[in-house]
Amino acid sequence: MELILNILGAIATIVLAFTVGMSYGGIVRKITARVHNRMGPPWYQNFIDAFKLAGKTTAINHGIMQHFGPAFIMVSSIVSLMIVPVLNGGGWFENLNFGGDLIFLLYIMVFGPLGMALGAGQTGNPNSAIGITRGLSQMVGFEIPWVMALVALMVQFDTTSIVDIMRIQNESGTWMMFSSPFAFIAAVMAMLGMFRYSPFDIVGAPTELASGPVSENGGKYLLTMMSSGSIFAFVKLTLYVDLFMGGADNLIILVLKTFALYMIPVLYGIVSPRYRTEQSIRFFWGWPTFFGLLAILYAVFV
């Protein structure tokens, strides 16, 4: 009985993440369009796209790894969603919060890019592979300040568990973005790369690489990748809220906080040109890493 309840809870979490993530995607398209002085699609355009993709039949395939690639990505998104606490105190959405800690999360989050890389690799499209190499290189870039911020948090509170970090914030009444500001700055700078909006969008580079890794995928494959991307965006935003903004007590607060946070990479991206890969790597190893170091020093000495 408990197992069934757990599975139901997990499904509820996935549906929530899917809905919120897809809506955010649509809203971002709208906002971008308005900034560009266009009308833009309606905010529910992503749902329409999803239904359309689900209805399509696929005619050709390039082999088994192309099928498994999107499944790998889904594993990464859903398992990290199971690990990240959605609300303070768990409730319906407790899932596997007890099962993994931050370091597990860091590693399961890169399972997705690897699956994407394998799936895209088998199609033989050189644009996909070029996109993948850029994506992986850029990942090495932004992981450094991101990990520094996480290490600073772990050191400061002697725990690697996300639930514990949320609990500490609620007990002390201050959000981590105020009590360890440098970690927050480093993490937000890393977040710019994580969401791959401009100036860090050379991975997909729509005009140059024909969207890179996802080219050659249509129908159900693209649907899986798209929904995985939406869920993953929700996971990352919720994680930031959990770690730096004290978590959320109910879904409305969660949506408000994540949306506010999401606007940072989006609004920064809309007005930015594009970096080359090595430029973006060097960007992440510059100021963000400096703030990461400050964060660690702050955590150790203050």
Binding site: H67, L96, G99, L118
Partner: protein, 617 residues
């Protein structure tokens, strides 16, 4: 007959017989080879128990052989990987010349490693260590390629290590008048301070050479890639672990008792971290899969050395677990390269591409090993990485953890390069005739791949013998404190429950794989990799769409400043300098009688000039 003697004699006799009788017929040779690896292995695991030892007198010195818990753990690596690699070797080396020599060296190196693990005195340890170096040296030059460059480099560094170790042994003998390792450990506390520093340092130089620690690593990339792949699997998987084995004993039993020995541990840990970063960056830059894996081995051993250097119980657990995992996945990856090299004739990542449909089993075992190498859950590599990070954070090594993390993230790059280069990408006509490797090669690879998976879910299977070994070294039991059969804990009590996570991963994967494939195969047709949309155009058959040159160029541009300095150039500089000195010395002997007469005159003049100072007259 005493079982330990019998096992070593069987190995030795097997080596000789394989060489001699192998000249009669290849079949006898192959059977003799496999049986002289497998039979002693079975005998060892059935009959030799931990704690049992034998001793005998040679020239008035007491020598002793036996097995400890720690050595038993390493014997899993040596004998397990050895058996699988030997089965593989028979199929992989079929039709090559001079095979009797190869096989007997192979057996000798397994024997020498077992000898090292069984030795309880320094002199037999040293003798087996030298047999190991010699047999692996002969393997490095087996193919007769780059003997000058690679072979001599390996030999010189091994010699430096061996002399350092021999010096330490002689000093220990003069101080304690005994060669037993247990006597060294028990009387170490009474040595003078300088001896307390000198002996561990000399021993560590010997072990660091074999485990390819910066700055003594320069021999490794060449030596690993130059020997036949069936042996490199052992070379990188098991042989390098002998250095780790020795290092653990020195660090725990000796260095811990040096006053301020803490600094030595820190230095070793940092050297390990630098090794990891350097190895990883150079691995990303390689185009030859063998070189790539060789540099990656250097990097992976760096992590292990970091764990040993930190020396907390959790760090030791992680180091030993990573040692076992590295033997499994890196052993397997070298076997994969061997299989590809045998089928296609090259191991260059820029030449081969698109083998996934031709060699599916090889691909699966490579995929498992790569995921384990990258440390991604749910495979075994993750467990070691997790423990390493937790121990680094728990023991206040905040910068080192960033260094290690950087190196292990950058490892994704070469991992993907390896998989993409060989198996994915465009399927070219040149390789359309390639078939899967024979079953005798595929089965050992698959066994190793399954092992990575099992250990990812139930790491307790290996952590249990590790725990026994650590208790023997004087640590408190870690079971329940840091790990259960399939759960991991850190020093603050945070946990990773592996079973629910693995089951969740499998469930989600199966669901979506079914969702994507259930109609996928019936209703879709397979098209070639040329049938793609390339910016809206369909490429022609003759167009070259292979992407393999300059694979990670943007990344390498970004890290260019780090890679400008190579320790190798300094060594070459020293080598050239020495050569110049030798050349100058040679010029003294001109072969001209008049010059020699001049030397004699100069000598006498000098004597006369300084006679007061010299003779006090």
């Amino acid at each position: 007959m005493e079982m330990i003697y019998l096992i070593l004699v069987l190995f030795l006799g097997g080596a000789v017989l394989t060489w001699l009788l192998g000249k009669i017929s290849p079949i006898i040779r192959d059977i003799l080879f496999i049986s002289s690896v497998i039979i002693p292995t079975v005998l060892f695991f059935m009959n030799v128990e931990v704690g049992h030892d034998v001793s005998f007198q040679v020239l008035g010195y007491k020598l002793s052989w036996g097995i400890s818990y720690l050595a038993y753990l390493f014997s899993y690596i040596v004998l397990g990987l050895g058996s699988l690699a030997s089965v593989y070797a028979v199929a992989a080396m079929k039709g090559k010349k001079n095979l009797g020599f190869f096989y007997s060296n192979f057996i000798l190196s397994i024997m020498s490693m077992m000898g090292i693990l069984l030795s309880r005195d320094l002199i037999s340890f040293f003798i087996f260590w030298e047999i190991m170096t010699w047999s692996s040296y002969l393997m490095v030059v087996f193919r007769g390629k780059d003997v000058q460059k690679v072979g001599i480099k390996y030999f010189v560094f091994s010699a430096i290590g061996a002399y350092a170790m021999l010096m330490a042994i002689v000093i220990v003998n003069s101080l304690t008048n005994s060669l037993l390792i247990s006597d060294l450990v028990s009387s170490f506390g009474s040595f003078s301070l300088s001896m307390k520093w000198l002996i561990p340092l000399l021993l560590l130089i010997g072990f660091a050479v074999k485990s390819a620690m910066m700055p003594l690593h320069v021999w490794a990339p060449g030596a690993y890639s130059n020997s036949p792949m069936a042996f490199t699997s052992m070379f990188s998987g098991a042989l390098s672990k002998m250095g780790v084995y020795g290092m653990i004993i020195v660090m725990v039993s000796l260095v811990s008792y040096i006053p301020n020995g803490f600094w030595l541990k820190e230095t070793i840990a940092w050297l390990g971290g630098i090794t990891a970063v350097g190895g990883t960056l150079w691995a990303v830059a390689q185009d030859d899969a063998k070189k790539l894996l060789a540099y990656s081995s250097v990097a992976q051993l760096g992590y292990i050395i970091v764990g040993i250097g930190i020396g907390t119980p959790l760090a030791m657990l992680s180091a030993l677990f990573m040692a076992v995992m590295h033997a499994i996945f890196k052993g397997n990856l070298f076997l994969v390269v061997g299989a590809i090299e045998r089928q296609t004739g090259t191991s260059n990542l820029t030449e081969v591409s698109g083998l996934i449909r031709k060699m599916p089993w090889t691909f699966i075992s490579a995929l498992f090993s790569i995921i384990a190498l990258a440390g991604i859950p749910p495979l075994g590599g993750f467990v070691g990485k997790w423990m390493l990070y937790e121990s680094l954070i728990g023991s206040n090594h905040y910068l080192l953890v960033i260094v290690v993390f950087f190196s292990s993230t950058a490892a994704f790059l070469y991992s993907y390069k390896f998989l993409f280069g060989f198996f994915l990408g465009q399927e070219e006509k040149e390789w359309s005739h390639i078939k899967e490797a024979p079953a005798m090669m595929v089965v050992p690879m698959m066994i190793l791949a399954v092992a990575t998976f099992v250990l990812g879910t139930f790491p307790g299977l290996v952590l249990n013998p590790i725990d026994n070994g650590l208790q023997e070294l004087g640590f408190a039991s870690t079971q329940g404190r840091y790990w259960e059969m399939s759960a991991l804990f850190n020093e603050w009590g945070n946990q990773v429950m592996l079973q629910p996570l693995v089951y969740a991963i499998i469930a989600v994967f199966l669901f979506f794989a079914a969702f994507l494939t259930i109609k996928g195969f019936k209703h879709t047709r397979y098209v070639t990799t040329k049938d793609i949309s390339s910016s809206g155009e369909v490429p022609k058959e003759h167009e070259n769409l292979t992407f393999s040159q300059n694979f990670f160029q943007p990344f390498l541009r970004a890290v260019e400043p780090f890679m400008k300095r190579r320790i190798d150039t300094y060594y070459s500089g020293i080598g050239n300098g020495l050569e110049a000195i030798f050349d100058f010395t040679r010029r003294i002997y001109t072969g001209n009688g008049q010059t020699y007469a001049l030397y004699a005159v100069i000598f006498i003049v000098v004597l006369l000039m300084f006679k007061n100072a010299l003779f006090g007259l």
